[in-house]
Symmetry: C2
Subunit: 410 residues, 2 copies
Amino acid sequence: MAYQKPLRFDILAKDPSTGARRGRLYLAHGIVETPVFMPVGTQGTVKATSQEELVEMGYQIILGNTYHLYLRPGPDLVAEAGGLHSFINWQRPILTDSGGFQVFSLEHIRKIGEDGVVFRSYVDGSYHEFTPEKVMQVQSQLGADIVMAFDECAPYPCDYDYARSAMERTHKWAERSLAARDPKQSFFGIVQGSVYRDLRIESAQFVSSLDTDGIAIGGVSVGEGKELMMKAVEWVVPYLPEEKPRYLMGVGTPEDILDAVVRGVDMFDCVLPTRLGRSGSLYTSLGRINIKNARFTRQFAPVDPECDCWCCRNYTAAYLRHLYMCDEILAARLATYHNLYFYARLMENIRKAIDEGRLVDFREEFLAKYKAQLVVETEIPNEDETRRENNNEPRAKRSYAGARKTQRKG
Amino acid sequence: MAYQKPLRFDILAKDPSTGARRGRLYLAHGIVETPVFMPVGTQGTVKATSQEELVEMGYQIILGNTYHLYLRPGPDLVAEAGGLHSFINWQRPILTDSGGFQVFSLEHIRKIGEDGVVFRSYVDGSYHEFTPEKVMQVQSQLGADIVMAFDECAPYPCDYDYARSAMERTHKWAERSLAARDPKQSFFGIVQGSVYRDLRIESAQFVSSLDTDGIAIGGVSVGEGKELMMKAVEWVVPYLPEEKPRYLMGVGTPEDILDAVVRGVDMFDCVLPTRLGRSGSLYTSLGRINIKNARFTRQFAPVDPECDCWCCRNYTAAYLRHLYMCDEILAARLATYHNLYFYARLMENIRKAIDEGRLVDFREEFLAKYKAQLVVETEIPNEDETRRENNNEPRAKRSYAGARKTQRKG
């Protein structure tokens, strides 16, 4: 399909009593109904699932990680294959991030400057430099429908001065990214500013002034907690142009998504449904469960009686638990499918509720059920770490604070 | 479906110039066309694939391992679920082995006697005893269409005296297994006798004298090599009743299967297509390849141009290689599917060739292509070990000889 640029975003409906919007994105590779959740395909595959299964579940867009794809298999190879769509055989829209999130949380950052970041590959130890221009070139080679500006995602906690300088760098890099972007691709800017209201507003105003196709709120889901995350959304949204799509990066739980949708966010991505699925944690209409729990040993019924996914239509909780206890690949497959299906249905229901002007009721009903009977048998393991690690699956386990230290030395 | 016993086996055609037979098995859960290859579902799942995919590929029967299912999730739980078919949601025929192969190759055998074997669970260290009666009871609880007699699979190498005593024990256990079998299930006896012609013939005669529904040739594929394996088949087959199905346990490569089919074997099972798939080794019409080889880095074409499987229709060798280099689950999925599809098509072509009286030609053509251009980039890693380990995936890595020593001490 030929590229069609700039992106078109139609707002089809607005919820009467919240900030929620029901929209439709027209991208080079197809249409995306919003609010939308984008599964994370870090290395050109959404872990444990297949492209055919994603289509079957109704997903219209997935995310690819520029940082990972840059290192493996490399942008030249992807370009030679005809771009990421062709390389991975996914013919629907793709969004690639800028690699900023990953590169700033790396152990082996060697040098940070105003121009960019020198880092060491976790694959083979080689040195590489990411600049706004380089990152836009890589994203052009990958050929995603939507590309992101190169930004610095400030860690949490982060003092005011550092948050300001990171934000200012992000703004300069946004301008350079914009200048270097491939005009065939849709381009999103990223609002930073950490947990500081004035910085968030300043950043929102600056990014809104740029000629972007959409705007992302970055630097959230890095360990700041739900309350500060929602504050960031509340501070930023009033300063964003109504007509552009809004993307909250790396978020989140079903509750987070509902909370952000009512605050006017249109797009989401998160590794939670896939990562938690692989560890045996499954979303159900009655809350999140850990399938390894002994109480499922003899549950010869589906994981979620209300679910009609491939897993729940065909297999019992008892069988799934058995597969987990034996560390079988089918366990990860079934749970990943189930969780992604759960997210797909959640977003579908959110869109329907906005269409019908009853989002508040839907949210209340969903959460009443999801939380009232909720037996969270495992908390999200290292929730902060999970959030921080979002989009950065194979990252070395270490504290962001340590990375920061290295960075400042650089 | 109600049990229908004894099994019916119709021989539909015989190849005019070889011993090959084209048959049809009628079992409790459906029909199986022979010669047939049975994928190995060790722990109630054929690794990296799904039951739906096996149906899609055309598989009519799979194998389950009694030893593994006995330990996890346990026969009581499987029975409570309504049997293995219901527990794993596979509504077509299943064959369960007797656990003899696994239990005799275990590290923690504590006591071997004429009555049975005491062994330690590799899961939790607990002690268990397998006797013929116990094994038949477990297989009854699992509810497979075809169950196997409890046997002792002699190792290789094995001296004559030990081979004889193991064979004699196997014969006594066969009688006890037969007496204890669930009459609703089809029952196969197992011929042993190691690499000794007179023992093989004696065993074939003895097992043929029993009231079984089919006969297996066991104790092959334990490291004796292809030549001795085919000798065992040649020694045994003339003494087997024409009208019963013949099953060569744990075999094998495409070449092995062709060689055994022309010698009159009807049924096969092997972990090779699944295990090799997970390690990146793929069967193609031009031979077996290692997808991790650098020459596939830019092969933007399917793994096998002649293959129309899910993997080859949708994905390139370059993408599959990338997935392997990144250790992604989709790599194991695609390769397993491809290899099982290759085996399914091989068996389909073998059956068709027998139907049409041109098996010799087919075999020649297949092998000429498969071997002429063959670049075996990796030998089957530890081929002997792979064969020996067949049906015993999570077994501790140690020499069979050591197990034997322990056994003799017992």
